[in-house]
């Protein structure tokens, strides 16, 4: 199991009132006695609420909210790649290099991103703005090459288009 990272803020993570309302909506989707089914959606929510990643304190809090042992939450959080267990930048740039994208020159997209952001895979910029990750197939293969930035897909990329997209981020 990968090492869980402690939060550096010292402030215990707590959901806002609005987030707690969303937790209630999530709980309603599953039979009352099957509350553990909510762990993935609540982890997704926690990641959005707590700055894009999940500290050990955040996982413990999710365990408390969902009502399951912390270890079971750690198991889930470490199994799925979408749960970030260390801080990520404001913009998480995830570029696909799997077969369809590779055939459509994702190597050039990777080079463009690495030189534009001055980052290698797995690195974050010091100003906290960007994290660059290599990812497996994201299911947009007929519009290859592609990348995902936070919630959005960017498809049919060229190196020029990559620069443009990065430049236009607020």
């Amino acid at each position: 199991m990968s090492e869980l990272q402690k939060s550096s803020s010292g402030v215990p993570p707590r959901f806002s009132e609005e987030a707690m309302r969303q937790v209630g909506v999530i709980f309603q989707r599953y039979p009352a006695e099957r509350r553990e089914s909510a762990v993935m959606p609540v982890l997704h929510l926690a990641q959005r609420e707590f700055g894009g990643w999940l500290s050990q304190e955040a996982l413990d809090y999710v365990a408390e909210v969902v009502g399951m042992p912390p270890m079971r939450v750690y198991e889930v959080a470490t199994f799925y790649t979408m749960y970030n267990l260390k801080p990520v930048g404001k913009y998480h740039v995830q570029v696909c290099t799997n077969i369809s994208c590779w055939l459509c020159a994702s190597d050039e997209i990777v080079r463009a991103l690495q030189s534009r952001l001055q980052l290698s895979f797995g690195e974050s910029s010091q100003d906290g703005r960007f994290t660059l990750s290599e990812v497996e197939c994201l299911g947009a293969c007929v519009n290859a090459p592609m990348m995902q930035i936070n919630d959005d897909y960017h498809e049919n990329l060229t190196p020029a288009k990559v620069s443009e997209i990065i430049d236009q981020l607020p």
């Binding site: 553990e36 997704h44 459509c104 197939c137 293969c141 007929v142």
Partner: protein, 420 residues
């Protein structure tokens, strides 16, 4: 050519209930609610539709396995679209979510499931939003809930986002994940039809399969089975990616010649047909075809199997002559190593070995005997694991060696690609 799942996707605002209703949406559900569950299952059986996710199991037969006991039953839509090369379900979900919902309510009613889930891959955030908006509309209009269309039928539906694990596309891995656990597949039997989600009888169908259901109910199973070819009835979306001039999702009748699909729909192979090197016909895990096979093979379950590969999810990945097959397969091997859930030793260890050996051949460090070693590792994975991920990792390697052995040999001998 007849279209079913994509027939409305080009309409403006096709994702809304208003547009879907304007083209006859939810009329199939209205009709279905006047039939018995068994009648619906018979109709789907008669259609001959086979699972569109990869395994190709007859959907009607799957539904008929649900026992008629008092346990709570579940319907799960597998929208975890993760097989490299595959992106057909995404367009259904973002453009015609109501057609999927209608298919699910009908399926739920047929097997007496009162609760359904759409397990969508987590990265499809926008698509999940679309689905949720459509579900909200369907609840408000009385197509979902505890009194569907005023007929006293209950069906609740929710979206569940995954977390980025390919193995959750395997149906029992998906169930584990939906129950809030690591997505490690279960030993079968018991099959989900008997013991599935929360231990209850569960039907799991792919997005495309369920989205085909409304038309089958409206027009009849016989109508559907007249489309396509024998044992591969109906239409199928092929996601054509890679080296073609017009990559895209194309819905065609099963049995279409691969060459026609590429030349007439996908704009032709980049640089012309003679520039074709090979085609991976059914997603990353299906063995690659050489050009010679591509000349004549037709796109149906049996013809592709007979030619030594599989139709899988319908992801057609086209490689032109510039592609180094060793590098292509090395990339796929890295993928399977990354996605192995670690539960079964042959897969956990074997995918690692396949990837390392492929990597060293690709890097020019291959040694004599590596080809035999790859084949040996592959055969020690295949058929020896709980789920099909092991097979999926082994098949492309063994298939590529079968089809392009001289390239592997060249790579090992000369330490570089045979192609320029």
């Amino acid at each position: 050519m007849t279209k079913i799942v994509y027939k409305h996707i080009h309409l403006e605002n096709s994702h809304t209930l208003a547009v879907y209703k304007s083209v006859g949406g939810y009329q199939a559900l209205e009709k279905a609610l006047t039939l018995s569950g068994d009648d619906i299952i018979d109709e789907v059986k008669r259609s001959g539709i086979r699972g569109r996710g990869g395994a190709g199991f007859p959907a009607g037969l799957k539904w008929s396995f649900i026992p008629k006991d008092d346990r709570a039953k579940y319907l799960v839509c597998n929208a975890d679209e993760g097989e490299p090369g595959t992106c057909k379900d995404r367009d259904i979900m973002r453009y015609v979510p109501h057609q999927l919902i209608e298919g699910m309510v009908i399926a739920g009613y047929a097997v007496r499931a009162e609760r359904g889930y759409i397990y969508i891959r987590g990265e499809f955030y926008r698509e999940a939003e679309r689905l949720q908006a459509a579900i909200d509309e369907a609840y408000a209009a009385g197509y979902l809930g505890n009194n569907v269309m005023g007929r006293g039928v209950r069906f609740d539906l929710a979206v569940h986002r995954g977390g980025g694990a390919y193995v959750c596309g395997e149906e029992t891995g998906l169930i584990e994940s939906l129950e809030g656990k690591k997505g490690q597949p279960r030993l079968k039997p018991p099959f989900p039809a008997n013991i599935g989600l929360y231990g209850g009888p569960t039907v799991i169908n792919n997005v495309e399969t369920l989205t085909s259901v409304p038309d089958i109910i409206l027009n009849g199973g016989a109508w559907y089975s007249a489309l396509g070819v024998e044992k591969s009835s109906g239409t199928k979306v092929f996601a054509v990616s890679g080296h073609v001039n017009k990559p895209g999702n194309y819905e065609v009748e099963l049995g279409i010649p691969l060459k026609v699909l590429l030349e007439e729909y996908a704009g032709g192979v980049r640089g012309g047909w003679d520039n074709l090197k090979g085609v991976i016909p059914g997603g990353a895990s299906s063995p690659v075809f050489t050009k010679a096979v591509c000349e004549t093979v037709t796109m149906d379950y049996d013809a592709i199997a007979k030619a030594g590969s599989m139709l899988g999810s319908g992801a057609v990945i086209v490689l032109d002559r510039s592609v180094c097959i060793v590098r292509a397969i090395a990339r796929l091997s890295r993928f399977y190593r990354h996605e192995s859930c670690g539960q079964c030793s042959p897969c956990r260890e074997g995918t690692g070995w396949l990837s390392q050996i492929m990597q060293r051949i690709e890097q020019g460090k291959g040694v004599r005997g590596d080809i035999d070693l790859l084949l040996s590792v592959a055969s020690n994975i295949q058929g020896k694991t709980i789920c099909a991920l092991g097979d999926a990792a082994a098949m492309p390697v063994a298939g590529a060696i079968r089809a392009f052995r001289e390239e592997f040999e060249y790579h090992i001998e000369h330490g570089r690609c045979m192609v320029a």
